[in-house]
């Protein structure tokens, strides 16, 4: 009997300590959140943090459905999503910016172009510009790749860069890594995504007037790079328990340094 009581107490103790933190959502910050979780576990070995991707939309849908505690997102929550949160949980989701990200315009290394205007990017992804020659490049058809519909980058790009206009004449690449690989393989490819993910491809500077603005720490800090955005955690309630500790770590200089190492930018 005593053994059973001790066993029950041990189980209860384990349960009490292991307050799991389930985070689901953005593919863009998936690796970053994993790095934060790994680093935090070194400080708090009993921390249980589960990180899964799938896209910002999927993460927010899971948050509304109650299957995860925290959604990670590379876009702000939509009004309709907040309305569902308010109806379901009597309160809006708590929005916590965790880092800054720069959305970069990807092209293949073989592409001689070095910069592009935001207007031309819009015309390419809405199918109105179909040849690189039209934007000062080679005479070659443009292969425009977009992210899948559940992706926060898809929504952010659609809203911010295309101004809500429909994507046209495009192909879909699955996941942030898939987007990089697609542009890497296609000499005429163009895509978009987190600057942190770019490997083996070229990032185009953005022309603003006569200036060509490169995506870097300086232009992100002074706000000159036009395609900067915040990335977020959304939770059902105000941070409490183990999540508070994890969040404090993320927002600490150490956590923000991890973001910089991962290719993101600090909040301050």
């Amino acid at each position: 009997m005593t053994k059973r009581i001790l066993l029950a107490l041990a189980v209860a103790s384990t349960v009490a300590h292991a307050e799991p933190i389930n985070i689901k959502g953005s593919d863009t910050i998936f690796t970053l959140v994993q790095r934060w979780a790994d680093a935090y576990r070194k400080q708090k070995p009993d921390a249980v943090i589960s990180v899964t991707g799938g896209g910002s939309g999927l993460g927010i849908a899971a948050l509304i459905a109650g299957s995860v505690d925290i959604a990670s997102a590379s876009r702000p929550m939509k009004e309709a999503e907040q309305e569902k949160m308010r109806s379901r949980y009597s309160a809006p989701a708590t929005e916590i910016p965790v880092a800054k990200d720069a959305v970069a315009i990807y092209v293949n290394k073989a592409n001689p172009l070095t910069s592009i205007t935001e207007a031309d990017v819009k015309l390419i992804f809405t199918g109105k510009i179909t040849n690189w020659k039209q934007v000062g490049g080679l005479d070659a058809p443009i292969s425009a790749f977009i992210r899948e519909g559940g992706s926060g980058s898809y929504v952010w790009f659609h809203d911010e860069v295309l101004g809500g206009q429909e994507y046209q004449n495009i192909r879909t690449a699955s996941g942030g890594f898939g987007m990089v690989n697609a542009v890497f393989k296609d000499a005429n490819g163009i895509g978009y995504g987190g600057a942190s993910l770019a490997r083996g491809i070229k990032l185009l500077k953005i022309k603003v007037g006569s200036a060509e603005i490169e995506c870097n720490a300086e232009t992100m800090a002074n706000g000159k790079y036009p395609l900067g955005r915040l990335v977020y955690f959304y939770s059902k309630k105000k941070p409490a328990g183990d999540f508070t500790g994890f969040l404090e770590f993320i927002l600490s200089p150490e956590g923000q340094h991890i973001a910089v190492v991962a290719g993101f930018y600090p909040l301050k």
Binding site: E79, R88, G175, V180, K185
Partner: protein
């Protein structure tokens, strides 16, 4: 060899084949930035004589994929949704009162939406044992101005909800209490009408205004028709800061009462005011560890309201409600609502002229309702509600025993 052993062998061959193919790839080919494992929809970079055939097949598949993708992209603009509310009710006066004891299908909604670049189409029907009726039929024109997340403009024409207050336009699947409050049911019977409205969002500002026939879709006297040339103007101006939202609503219109010489030979048909003024407030707080707390309230006063889906033309009325909702954890919700409605506001309360022991039908009614809801998952919700209507009485009359118990299960997709 057993069946399981064969299965294992086949699985092994299938699993090893891609690795063998990759092993034959040219040494000079630059590697992908990310490994295949991290590329769910990626394309293999394998080359070589043995894989030329596979490459051709892959290209063929890719072509088919692009065609499929194009089709799926179009289909993704079409959305079907809906919900069913099955209900059991029992009232203290089930034998003689309006609420009968028994089961019912309160709502059986099916909604189809198509969203294009500049347009949206939406049709919603309600299928219940009483029949199938059209609830919404909306044609939207949505010019792509500014950032869709910060500024939107939506012009809607068809059969659509009046942009008045909070509870009226709110979806019945999202509302906590199974039915709207008395004052909202009286001033916005059926919540919909035929007309045109413009809805705009500018940051935290919300504005909507529309021109409608005015009779609504549930007016028994004029279902589907406008019996006059007057149009009603309805609108709401509000703010939404996430944790607090509020608005002021207005309605200016006329209702025509036709001549009916069989009832009153002296009466000539004439127009009466159909006006409303409303204020609504919603506060969402997250200060309790058990879950969110919401407080919602609305006040409406005006002339001409509906009773049993017939207009009481030109009569003044006033009412309000306050609703307190507390979420407990992720799955439980409790709520309490106080709802007050005074038809023929300003008229003294009286006893029923035929039965002096009963209050008159124009006396004010206060209703206290309490609710418990359990969310099984995102699609299924069970609600138990108990409502206690208290009718104002005068000396000699007594408040009728008409408390109502409701058990409702809502399934939505």
């Amino acid at each position: 060899m057993t069946l399981n052993a064969w299965k294992k062998l086949i699985l092994t061959v299938v699993a090893v084949s891609p690795a063998m193919a990759l092993a034959q790839s040219d040494a000079g080919v630059e590697e992908l930035p990310y490994p295949e494992a991290e590329l769910p929809g990626g394309v293999s970079g394998a080359k070589g004589e043995d894989v030329v055939d596979l490459t051709h097949r892959l290209e063929a598949l890719e072509e088919q994929y692009l065609e499929t993708q194009s089709t799926v992209f179009s289909l993704s603009k079409i959305k079907l949704s809906g919900y069913v509310q099955g209900r059991y009710q029992n009232a203290q006066n089930s034998v003689s009162g309006a609420v009968k004891d028994g089961f019912s299908v309160r709502r059986g909604r099916l909604k189809a939406t198509y969203t294009g670049t500049w347009s949206q189409f939406m049709v919603q029907i309600d299928a219940t044992p009483k029949g199938v009726v059209l609830k919404d039929a909306e044609a939207h024109f949505r010019p792509p101005v500014g950032n869709p997340n910060q500024r939107t403009l939506d012009i809607v024409i068809g059969q659509t909800k009046w942009p008045f207050g909070f509870e009226g336009p709110q979806s019945s699947s999202e509302r906590e209490m199974p039915e709207r409050s008395r004052v909202v049911r009286a001033f916005l019977p059926g919540e919909r009408d035929r007309g045109i409205k413009v809805v705009g969002t500018w940051g935290f500002m919300r504005a909507a205004v529309g021109v409608f026939d005015g009779n609504g879709i549930d007016n028994k006297a004029f279902v589907g028709v406008d019996n006059d040339t007057e149009k009603d103007v309805v609108g709401r101006l509000g703010i939404d800061l996430g944790w607090i939202a509020a608005g002021v609503s207005g309605w200016v219109g006329k209702s025509y009462k036709p001549s009916d010489f069989s009832l009153n030979p002296a009466f000539q048909g004439r127009f009466y005011d159909r006006n409303r003024l409303g204020f609504d407030l919603q506060i969402y707080l997250n200060f309790l560890p058990i879950g969110g707390t919401a407080l919602k309230a609305e006040w409406i006063a005006g002339r001409t309201f509906a009773r049993d889906n017939l207009e009481v033309i030109g009569a003044p009325a006033i009412g309000w409600y306050a609703l307190l909702v507390q979420s407990i954890g992720a799955d439980h919700q409790i709520a309490a609502r106080f709802d007050y409605f005074d038809p023929l506001a300003g008229t003294p309360d009286a006893a029923d002229s035929k039965d002096p022991t009963r209050p008159a039908s124009n006396n004010a009614i206060a209703t206290i309702g309490v609710l418990y809801s359990y969310y099984f998952d995102e699609a299924l919700k069970a609600s138990v509600v108990y409502e206690i209507p208290v009718t104002q009485t005068v000396s000699g009359s007594i408040d009728p025993a008409d408390n109502v118990f409701t058990l409702q299960l809502q399934a939505k997709f």
